[in-house]
């Protein structure tokens, strides 16, 4: 497992299958889709995922650069980020697959798996479907091949260097820039803070309306950076329906619920055994320990502040046991 695969001669079939979709291989894994499902195969087994759920998960995995730790597409298939290489696995974090010896994992250099995943996403996303949108804001993912939606799947990911609205940094959002207020956030005030900068300090006296900014997000479950305090990153996001992945932590992350409510199912990261249910309402703060995985459910579009520590040493510190999995002990 320590050796990663860096090259394959062909990443997808040239000829489409009878539904119009290409099939893909990545090492020992095969991927194909039909009108309703994606089938994943590996030497010891196979697995089906509904195509809308698969594309939503695939979209996040690509957009987040394989994120921090584990991105479980469901209870069987997913990826582990090693920050330079990525494990693709089946059953590795499922106690029953492990016990049956049906689990499989293979490591790939990040550019390779990214290239295959991007090709898969592009070929399998029809023009009617937006994997980033909530179910009520997109058409169907199902059926035979029906065009493509490259604009939706290649959105710019916001990564502020200092703070949204600071000079030279990511801009705020407006109708004019193509970000209308979302239907669930029509009541969110759009006023701007009163900023009175003395001459010469216009670039350092900076403020913006974070809630208005979030009310204009056109995606769900997509943390993006709005402020940077060294390695401390504020990554707020708007959430509706179900988090398309089950995120397995390789470090502690924190949630601050800014509006409305999300319920989190928290499971053991390695086995999937349920550990807790966390209900978060406006103003609530909770840590997600480094040894769990979690999936959120948001009945109404809500604003969630995801707080990350991007220090590169953390996965090793937690994995080695030098750091306890919980952020504070009391």
């Amino acid at each position: 497992m320590s050796q990663s695969t860096s090259a394959v001669p062909e990443i997808g079939s040239i000829e489409p299958n009878r539904h119009g979709y290409r099939t893909f291989t990545l090492g020992d894994f095969g991927f194909s889709r039909d009108e309703y499902f994606v089938q994943i195969t590996w030497p010891k087994g196979s697995h089906l995922i509904a195509v809308d759920a698969f594309l939503r998960a695939l979209q996040r995995d690509i957009a987040w650069g394989f994120f921090y730790g584990i991105v479980n597409f469901d209870a069987v298939v997913g990826t582990v980020n090693h920050y330079g290489s990525v494990d693709l696995f089946a059953g590795r974090f499922n106690a029953h697959y492990r016990k049956a010896g049906m689990d499989h994992s293979q490591r790939f250099d990040t550019p390779l798996i990214q290239r295959v995943f991007e090709a898969m996403l592009e070929d399998w996303t029809n023009k009617t479907f937006d994997p980033f949108a909530s179910p009520q804001e997109t058409g169907s993912a199902f059926g035979p091949k029906n065009g493509s939606n490259k604009e939706a799947i290649t959105r710019h990911r916001v990564t502020a260097k200092r703070m949204i609205g600071a000079p030279g940094d990511e801009p705020t959002r407006s109708d004019e820039s193509g970000f209308p207020i979302n239907r669930h956030f029509k009541d969110v005030p759009q006023d701007t803070p009163e900023v009175l900068a003395e001459p010469g300090f216009e670039g350092e006296v900076v403020a913006f309306n974070l809630f208005a900014y979030l009310s204009r997000s056109d995606v769900t479950w997509n943390p993006s950076i709005v402020s940077v305090c060294k390695a401390s990153l504020y990554c707020p996001t708007t959430e509706e329906y179900i988090l398309p992945v089950i995120h397995g932590n390789d470090r502690v992350e924190w949630f601050v619920q800014l509006s409305d409510e999300i319920q989190w199912e928290v499971e053991d990261r390695d086995t999937g055994a349920m550990r807790a249910r966390v209900t978060m309402r406006a103003g609530d703060v909770a840590a997600m320990p480094a040894d769990i995985r979690h999936r959120g459910f948001s009945p109404k579009r809500s604003m969630l502040l995801v707080w990350e520590n991007a220090s590169p040493d953390l996965p090793t510190l937690y994995a080695s046991g030098k750091m306890p999995p919980t952020p504070v002990q009391f």
Partner: protein, 167 residues
């Protein structure tokens, strides 16, 4: 259908909580910024989140704070009320190495400006400056920073410890 977005405030918040199945509620360090600020002294810097050296502090804004100098950029998000944030460019570095340090009186420096921020507004508190908060009525500021000497950690007082919410 019209949707109502629910934000919290000092006067109106409803906490969720942790329902333990096979765990310890303390592992989730669960608190609520309005609950914490409602029981804090003005401008007490109470950590509600900690990630190694980094913290998120819930601060009750009430009256006028002392001046502070950050050792790095900090970010103040007003969660409730209206807060005036006054900024000065310091003549001399304040010597803060981590988080921020309190400065006696009004420090020497050049006025940079003022931000009048209401709930939902985020303000940059730039390194090299000093800042002062003023709130005519109680409000809440959520501060993104690094733990410093004045950061208050009282987790057992603010966090859920029982296996069910509200107990």
């Amino acid at each position: 259908m019209e949707h109502k977005t629910r934000f919290g405030s000092l006067q109106d918040y409803t906490k969720g909580g942790v329902e333990v199945i096979n765990d310890d509620a303390r592992n989730y360090v669960f608190s609520n910024v309005f609950d914490v600020a409602s029981r804090s002294k003005p401008y007490e810097k109470v950590a509600v989140g900690k990630n190694i050296e980094y913290v998120i502090e819930a601060i009750r804004a009430e009256g006028t704070s002392g001046w502070r100098a950050p050792a790095q950029d900090e970010f103040a998000l007003v969660m409730d009320g209206e807060v005036e944030i006054r900024l000065l460019k310091l003549e001399k570095p304040a010597g803060a190495t981590q988080g921020s340090v309190a400065l006696p009186g009004t420090p020497a420096g050049k006025k940079m400006g003022v931000v009048r921020a209401r709930r939902r507004h985020m303000t940059l508190l730039p390194v090299g400056s000093a800042y002062q908060f003023h709130a005519a009525k109680p409000g809440v500021v959520l501060l993104q920073t690094v733990a410093g000497a004045d950061t208050v950690e009282k987790w057992a007082d603010i966090c859920q410890t029982s296996p069910r919410p509200g107990r």
